[in-house]
Symmetry: C2
Amino acid sequence: MDLRELPLRERKKARTRQALAETALRLFTEKGFEATTLDELVDAVEVSKRTFFRTFPSKEDVALATDNELWSVFLAEVAVMEIRGPVTAAFLTAVRTALGRMDDGWAERFLATRALCARVPAVEAHSLRYCNDTTRAAVERLAARLGRDRGDVSLSLAVEISIAAWRHAALTWTDDGGEGGLPGLLDRLDHAFAAIPSAVTVSA
Amino acid sequence: MDLRELPLRERKKARTRQALAETALRLFTEKGFEATTLDELVDAVEVSKRTFFRTFPSKEDVALATDNELWSVFLAEVAVMEIRGPVTAAFLTAVRTALGRMDDGWAERFLATRALCARVPAVEAHSLRYCNDTTRAAVERLAARLGRDRGDVSLSLAVEISIAAWRHAALTWTDDGGEGGLPGLLDRLDHAFAAIPSAVTVSA
DNA sequence: GAGGAAAGTGCCACTGAGGGGCATTCGCTG
DNA sequence: CAGCGAATGCCCCTCAGTGGCACTTTCCTC
């Protein structure tokens, strides 16, 4: 995310993107997602609506820009990391690494994004789709690197289970108002992953 | 779903709902989701657009009516079934029971719905949200019945894992063109659930 | 450093999803 | 069959999202 190295054109685009994402998150949080029109947003950032749609494919996407940061770094990490031992453990490591690469302020934005998700079904739906797309991409990368089939049941389930653990951690963290900040989220993450074995056997 | 017993008013509503869902699925499959406007749909069914929105909350929802049938029966089953042994096994039983209660033709409609999901991101997003809502509702019902906390990590994960297995089964079944019909789907379901233990330990 | 290609932006008009309000019709009940 | 409440149709509105085209900016090349 080092802007200084890019050509001017790219820098401007990145800045517009960031301004839109930040302002959107603020407006959506302050006065609600539906209650905020795109016209208000683009007026505040001083770009045209056309430019908005060249930067983000939809109103929901701009609300989820913070999620996107994490997932793209996560996927890049999955592509290059050393993979040994259980897939779920590798997944946990990759998420922890990705979280460690987020800039200051990311945790706060992420908390606001999750709160938004909890309140607005349309945003939650888009968020789940992102999650799902990431899951699929992760399965493909892992399958390629481990020499397994793309449709391998165990591998797919291992990734889905890991994502479920991640989501549970994020959900409880959000419910508690982002308690402990980023380290708090990491704690919950470890806790959720540690609970996986017992989840498989939990009985009535 | 026995219409004859209901008052005329309710019967009409149910018939309108069914006509909308069936026609929508046919039109969306034939000419695409985006390419079909709601005006075309309501013209074909001969109701006003206003009535459409009193029956379904959105265009995506009418495409997912078939999913809805399954999930509502499933949740009802979770609320009354006898729960013994592992939660994942109970979940599998509940899904099998719900599938057994679907009417003739459901499998075909479900296949068309899944194909639609695979092609249209917006529909997939709504489908994932349904899935997620169902998951939460199932966790709450199970928590209440097993005397556990709503936020219990193991229980939540157990349900999420089960849903992941279900989704994997449905996905491969759809990819293979609904091979084997409903029994074929049940086979894949058993297979996916059987793979859960190995998924937790799958290693590089 | 001038000039042209290429990429990005703004403006305008348009479609389609979705909702509010109100009059009308329809089914139920006494 | 009269009257009440529920469901429907119709009209009008807002807003997300797209296509087209003219204009500006950045970049590349000579």
